[in-house]
Amino acid sequence: MAKKIPVKDFEPKIVVFACNWCSYPAADAAGINRMQYPPNVRIIRTMCMGRVNPGHVLKAFEMGADGVLVSGCHFEDCHYSFGARKAAEQYKKLEQIVRMLGFEKERIRQEFISAAEFPKFVKVVREMVEQVQKLGPTPLKGVRKVPSRKQVESIMESPPS
C-alpha cells in the first residue's frame, strides 16, 4: 500500500452506528446541551448495537467511509441485555478482518456510551475525527463508484447474458 500523506484540511467522512437506547439519546443530549463537535459524522440508528455486524462496517468502508464508530450501551445497560455483549464479540471479529485487509485499525472504534454520558459521546467523536484526519483518506476510496444514471439505464436495457 502506498504511503499515505496526511492531507491537510481533509474532512473525513465517518459513519456512526448508534443504538436507540443509549448512544443515540446521548447524541441527542449533546444537542440539548448545545455541546459542539466537528460535523463529520452521520449517525445511523439501530435498535441495538447487536444489530451491527462486521458486514455493515465493511460495506461502509467499501463505499468510501474514512472511519466507522460503533456505539451502544454499556453491557449492563443494554436494553436487550445481551446485545451489547454480543456486539463486543462481533467487534473482535471485525478487528481481525480489518487487520487482515491491512488498513489502519484506528479507523474503527467501538464505544459504550450511556444516555447520560453525552460529554463522552462528544469527546469520542472529536477524538475519532482527529485521529482519522491524521490517517488521511481511506485507502479504499473510489473502490466502488455509483454507476451514473446512463450506465444504469444501459445495463437495464441490455439483455442479461
Binding site: 459513519v15 443494554c78 436494553h79 441485555s81 446485545g83 454480543k86
Partner: protein, 958 residues
C-alpha cells in the same frame, strides 16, 4: 400541549374561568365561563391573514412586553389550540372607527366580533387544581431598581431574550446601547426566603435556572464575565449537582456568596454598580457590571384565593393551596374530591410537577367508573400505497432552532431534487397541531406513499408523526425522520455552512431509507390486570393502595419481616409532627386486603415475559417453602435506597466513640424526653452535612433529605437545652414549609457554619472528640466549637444488592450515580426503558417522603394508563426468517436470550421460527446468522445499506 390538544378523552377549554362549584366528590357541578375569543376555534387554521391586516400594535405578553403583537394574534407559536384570538382591549372593533379588516380578510369566515361570552355547567367526578405560578414583581424590591435602571432585567425577560424564537432572536444585548454585555451579574433570591416581603419560602427553581442561563450566556459570549450572587446554591434534583459542578469547573462562572444590598446606575454608561458585602473580609465592595439579572421569587397564581373560595379548599396566607397532609398526602386538598398538583401547592420544578400531575390523575380517576376504558372505534380511511414511489419531504424550522443555523430553503429545494421525491416543503413547527393537519393534507393531495420529516429526534417525535400518517390511513411505518436539530443544528451552531451540508446528507439518507421502507402491521395482544410491586417501603405501599382503589389486584413483595421501610424508623416527621410509624399505620389502614396481597420475607426467584404478560416467581427469603408464580401485567420496582456508610476514619467515624450517623441519632432520640449518650448528659452536639453526598466518594449529587433531617434533629436537641451546630456546604431546604423550619432553628439558637470540601472542619481530641475546629473567614482565626457528640449526616446511595437482584431478570439501565435511570428525566420520571416496568421512590434517586409519595401516585397513574384496556399493540419491529436461506443450524436459538427463536420441523428440514410476542427486535440474531437468513423489520440490511450508499456514494449524483 400537543398531546392534550388532540387526545380523544380530553376536552380543552382555554380562555375560561370557573365560576361556581357545587356538589361533592364524585358528583360535582362546575359552572364555567367561556370568554369569547372572537375567532372560531375549530375552524381557524392559524394562517395568520387576519393579523397581517390588523392595524393595531400591542406589546406581546408572551415576550414579557419585549416584542410586539397585533390585536388579533396567536399567543405564541406552539400554542394549543392554535386558533388565533382577538383582544377586546386592543381591537378597534367597529368603534370609534369601523375597522373589521380581519373579518373581511378571513377566507373561512372565522372571525366574529360579536361573539358572546358563554356559560356552561359541567358534571364531573373530581377536580384537579394545577393553577401554577406567577412571578414576584421585582419592583417591590426597590433597592435593585428594576424598571428604574434599564439594564436590570428579571429572569423571565432573560429567558425570552435568550430564546432563539424570542424578541431579540436569541441575542442578549443591553437595553441602553444594544451592545453585548461585558459582564452579567445574577442576583438570586429576589423576594424569596424573605419574611419582610411575605415570601418566607424558597422558590426552588431559580438556582438551577440561573446556572443554566449563565452557561447559555457563556456559550454566547465566551469572554464575558458572569457572576452569580447567592445565599445557598440549591442544586438538589437528580443530576443537578453535577450540572452545577460543571458550571463551576468549565463555565468559568464567578459564584459569590452574599446578597447585594443595593444597585446604583452609572447614568453615562448605563453600567450598574453592585454594593455587596464580601463575606470573606466583611467589607462592602462596589462592583461594576454591565447587566443585572434578578432571579425573582415564584408566587401563587393570581386569583388563587378566589378560586380556593369557589372550590371550598384552603390556601395559605400567600395563596398556595394547602394539602391535607404536606408529608403523607401532598396531593389531596382540604376538600375531598379536589386534588392538587404542581406549583399550586408551592414552587416545584418540572420533574416533580410531572410526577405530581400523574398522581393527581390517578386520584381523580378513582371517582370515575372502574378502570376499563371505553374502546373507541376510529374510522381510519383506506389508503392505497401501490404504484411507483412518491416520497414527500417536510423540513421543519423548529422556530429558529433549526432555521437559525441551517439554510432551510436550500434544503427544501435540495430535497425536491432527490430520487422519487415528488413533494417538499418547509414548516415552521412540524409538530404544531395545525401543521399536522397541513402534513395530512399534503399527503393526500400529492398521493405520497413515503414520508420524510427532517426535524428533531425520532426518539421523541416519531410517535407523533407516525400518528399523523396513521390518521390519513397511511401505514405509520412508512415514515422516516432526519434528525437535523439535536444532531445537527444544535451541535454545529458555530459552523452553519458545514451544518447545512450535513443536513443535506441526513435528508438524503432518510429519503434513501424511506424508499426502502415497507408497511408493518401491529399485532394486538391480551394483557393481564394484576400488578407486582417490589418493595414495601412508603413508595411501594402508596402505589399499592392507589392501584387497589382503581380495582387492580396488587402483589406487594417485601424482603424483610415488615412493610414500612425506612419511614417506620423515623421519630418525627415534619410538618405534621406524627411519627414515621404512625404514617405507616395510616397507610396500612387504607390497604384493601382483598385487592392487595402482601408477601413479606419474600424475594424474586424469576421474572419472565413482557409487557402485559409477566410471570413472576417468588421465593421465601429464609427457606420457607412454597414458591409462588404470579401472572402480572406490569411491574413496579420500589426497592428504595441504602444509607451511605462512612468508611472507618472518615470524619473520625469509628475512631472516636462519640461520632455517630444521623440515623443512629434518630434511634437514640426515639424515647422523646430524655437523651443520654455514653451515660452522660450532653451540652454540645455538632452535625457535619453532605457526608457521602455531592462528592467523589459516595453519591455525586445531593441527597435531598439530609438538610431538613439535620435541622429537624437540631431543633429537637436545642429544645432539650443542647447547643446544636450544623456544619454545611449549602443549606438546601427546598420544601415549601422547610424554610420556615430553618428559620425556627436559627431562632432557637442552632448555629450554622459553612465549610468547603477542601477545608472541612478539623477534629480535636485524643480518645474522645472534644471539639471541631474551623477557620473564621472574617476574623481570619481558627475557632473551636466544643462538641460532645458529632453526627454525620450521611447521604443516600443506590442499594447495589437489590438493584443487582432485579437486574438479573429485568435489564433496567443505571445512571452514572448508580440509581436506576428513568425514561426521561423530566417527562418520564417513573417509567423505565422497558415497557411495563416502572420505578418509584428512591430507586430513581434521593427523595424525601412527600416526593416519594408523589411519585408513587404517579406510578399508579402510569400503570393504570397502561392496563386500563383489554389489549395492547405489539411492536412489529421483529426479526424475520428467510426460510429458503435458513439451514437450521440453531445459532440464533443460542444467541437469543429472550428465547424468541426455536427450531421447527418443516417439510422434513429444520428451520428457525420467531415468536413475535417474545422477539424484541434487537437484531443480534441477524448478526450471528451464518447464512444471512435473518433480517430485522424496519432495520433491514438493505435499508441500512441504502443509507450508507446515500451518504457515501450519492453525494454529487443529483
Amino acid at each position: 400541549m400537543m398531546d392534550v390538544g388532540r387526545h380523544p378523552h380530553i376536552k380543552l377549554f382555554t380562555h375560561t374561568e370557573v365560576l361556581e362549584v357545587t356538589g361533592k366528590a364524585g358528583n360535582f357541578k362546575v359552572k364555567i365561563l367561556h370568554r369569547a375569543r372572537f375567532v372560531d376555534e375549530n375552524e381557524c387554521t392559524a394562517c395568520g391573514d387576519c393579523a397581517e391586516v390588523c392595524p393595531v400594535v400591542a406589546p406581546n405578553e408572551f415576550d414579557e412586553g419585549l416584542g410586539l403583537r397585533r390585536a388579533i394574534y396567536s399567543p405564541f407559536s406552539q400554542a394549543v389550540p392554535s386558533a388565533y384570538i382577538r383582544s377586546d382591549m386592543d381591537c378597534l372593533g367597529t368603534n370609534p372607527i369601523a375597522c373589521g379588516k380581519c373579518v373581511e380578510v378571513c377566507q373561512k369566515k372565522c372571525v366574529n366580533l360579536d361573539m358572546p361570552d358563554k356559560i356552561e355547567v359541567l358534571e364531573v367526578g373530581a377536580i384537579i387544581v394545577a393553577t401554577g405560578i406567577d412571578y414576584y414583581d421585582p419592583r417591590e424590591a426597590s433597592e435593585y431598581g428594576y424598571t428604574r435602571f434599564q439594564n436590570v432585567v428579571n429572569s423571565i425577560e432573560l429567558e425570552r431574550l435568550l430564546s432563539p424564537s424570542g424578541p431579540s432572536g436569541g441575542k442578549l444585548v443591553r437595553f441602553t446601547d444594544q451592545k453585548p454585555p461585558k459582564r452579567v451579574s445574577f442576583i438570586q433570591c429576589v423576594g424569596s426566603r424573605c419574611i419582610r416581603r411575605d415570601i418566607p419560602y424558597c422558590s426552588r427553581i431559580c438556582c438551577m435556572n440561573a446556572v443554566k442561563s449563565a452557561l447559555l450566556i457563556r456559550e454566547m459570549y465566551p469572554d464575558a464575565q458572569i457572576d452569580i450572587f447567592y445565599i445557598d446554591i440549591r442544586a438538589f434534583g437528580k443530576g443537578f449537582e453535577q450540572f452545577y459542578q460543571r458550571a463551576l469547573q468549565e463555565g468559568n462562572i464567578n459564584f459569590v456568596r452574599g446578597k447585594p444590598s443595593r444597585l446604583e446606575e452609572d447614568p453615562k454608561t448605563g453600567d450598574l454598580i453592585i454594593l455587596s458585602e464580601n463575606v470573606e473580609t466583611g467589607k462592602t465592595e462596589r462592583l461594576r457590571t454591565s447587566m443585572v439579572i434578578l432571579s425573582e421569587a415564584v408566587v401563587p397564581a393570581a386569583n388563587s384565593h378566589e378560586l380556593a373560595k369557589v372550590l371550598g379548599a384552603r390556601t395559605d396566607a400567600r395563596g398556595f393551596f394547602l394539602p391535607k397532609d404536606a408529608c403523607g398526602d401532598p396531593i389531596t386538598s382540604t376538600n375531598e374530591g379536589i386534588y392538587l398538583c404542581g406549583c399550586s401547592t408551592g414552587p416545584k420544578d418540572i420533574t416533580d410537577s410531572i410526577a405530581e400531575a400523574s398522581g393527581a390523575a390517578v386520584r381523580a380517576a378513582q371517582y370515575l367508573s372502574p378502570y376499563k376504558l371505553p374502546e373507541v372505534k376510529e374510522e381510519i380511511p383506506d389508503y392505497d400505497i401501490s404504484g411507483p414511489l412518491r416520497v414527500g419531504v417536510f423540513v421543519c424550522h423548529c422556530g429558529s432552532n433549526i432555521a437559525g443555523v441551517l439554510d432551510v430553503d436550500m434544503l427544501k429545494i435540495y430535497a425536491a431534487s432527490l430520487p422519487d421525491v415528488v413533494f417538499s416543503d418547509n414548516l415552521l413547527f412540524a409538530c404544531a397541531e395545525s401543521t399536522q393537519r397541513l402534513i395530512q393534507e399534503k399527503i393526500l393531495e400529492n398521493k405520497l406513499n413515503r414520508v420524510v420529516v427532517a426535524a428533531c429526534t425520532p426518539r421523541t417525535h416519531e410517535p407523533i408523526f407516525r400518528e399523523t400518517l396513521r390518521k390519513v390511513g397511511l401505514n405509520p411505518y412508512l415514515l422516516e425522520m432526519a434528525n437535523i436539530r439535536d444532531q445537527c443544528s444544535w451541535v454545529h451552531g458555530m459552523n452553519p455552512v458545514s451544518a447545512s451540508a450535513k443536513a443535506k446528507d441526513l435528508i438524503r439518507m432518510a429519503v434513501a431509507k424511506a424508499r426502502n421502507l415497507e408497511p408493518l402491521e401491529q399485532q394486538e395482544m391480551e394483557i393481564g390486570h394484576n400488578v407486582m410491586v417490589i418493595g414495601g417501603g412508603i413508595s411501594g405501599l402508596e402505589t399499592a393502595i392507589q392501584l387497589a382503589k382503581r380495582d387492580y389486584t396488587v402483589y406487594l413483595v417485601e424482603k424483610s419481616k415488615q412493610v414500612g421501610g425506612w419511614v417506620k424508623e423515623l421519630r418525627i416527621l415534619y410538618p405534621s409532627g406524627m411519627s414515621g410509624q404512625e404514617l405507616i399505620d395510616t397507610k396500612l389502614k387504607e390497604i384493601n386486603k382483598e385487592k392487595i396481597k402482601i408477601f413479606t420475607e419474600a424475594a424474586i426467584e424469576n421474572i419472565s415475559g413482557f409487557v402485559g404478560n409477566f410471570e413472576v416467581t417468588l421465593r421465601a427469603a429464609n427457606g420457607k417453602p412454597a414458591p409462588e408464580t404470579l401472572q402480572v401485567g406490569a411491574i413496579v420496582i420500589a426497592t428504595g435506597f441504602e444509607l451511605y456508610g462512612p468508611s472507618k476514619g472518615e470524619f473520625g467515624y469509628q475512631k472516636y466513640p462519640n461520632i455517630i450517623t444521623n440515623m443512629e441519632l434518630e434511634y437514640l432520640l426515639k424515647p422523646q424526653d430524655k437523651f443520654i449518650f455514653q451515660n452522660k448528659p450532653l451540652k454540645h452536639v455538632s452535625f457535619i452535612q453532605c457526608v457521602g453526598s455531592r462528592g467523589p466518594d459516595g453519591l455525586p449529587e445531593c441527597s435531598r433529605y439530609c438538610c431538613q433531617a439535620a435541622i429537624k434533629q437540631a431543633i429537637a436537641l436545642q429544645k432539650m437545652g443542647i447547643q446544636a451546630t450544623v456544619f454545611n456546604r449549602d443549606i438546601r431546604v427546598y420544601h415549601h414549609e422547610a424554610e420556615t423550619m430553618y428559620r425556627e432553628a436559627r431562632k432557637l439558637g442552632v448555629t450554622f457554619i459553612r465549610y468547603t470540601p477542601e477545608n472541612p472542619p478539623k477534629l480535636v481530641g485524643d480518645k474522645q472528640l472534644k471539639a471541631l475546629q474551623f477557620r473564621e473567614p472574617v476574623l481570619k482565626k481558627d475557632i473551636e466549637v466544643p462538641t460532645d457528640l458529632l453526627v454525620l449526616s450521611v447521604g443516600m446511595r443506590p442499594s447495589r444488592k437489590s438493584i443487582a437482584e432485579i437486574q438479573r431478570f429485568i435489564k433496567v439501565p443505571l445512571g452514572m450515580d448508580g440509581f436506576v435511570l428513568e425514561k426521561h428525566p423530566k417527562f418520564g420520571p417513573v417509567e423505565t426503558n422497558i415497557e411495563g416496568v416502572f420505578i418509584c421512590g428512591c430507586i430513581q434517586g434521593p427523595k424525601d417522603i412527600s416526593d416519594s409519595i408523589g411519585q408513587a401516585n404517579a406510578v399508579a397513574a402510569k400503570v393504570d394508563a397502561l392496563l386500563a384496556r383489554s389489549t395492547i399493540l405489539m411492536e412489529p419491529i421483529t426479526s424475520v426468517i428467510n426460510e429458503e436461506l435458513c439451514r437450521g443450524c440453531g445459532t440464533c436459538v443460542d444467541v437469543c436470550e429472550f428465547g424468541a427463536i426455536s427450531l421447527q420441523e418443516k417439510e422434513g428440514a429444520q428451520v428457525a421460527l420467531v415468536n413475535e410476542a417474545l422477539c424484541k427486535g434487537c437484531g443480534t440474531c441477524a448478526t450471528y446468522c451464518p447464512t444471512g437468513a435473518i433480517d430485522i423489520r424496519h432495520f433491514r440490511d438493505q435499508q441500512i445499506e441504502s443509507m450508507l450508499k446515500a451518504f457515501l456514494l450519492e453525494e454529487d449524483r443529483v
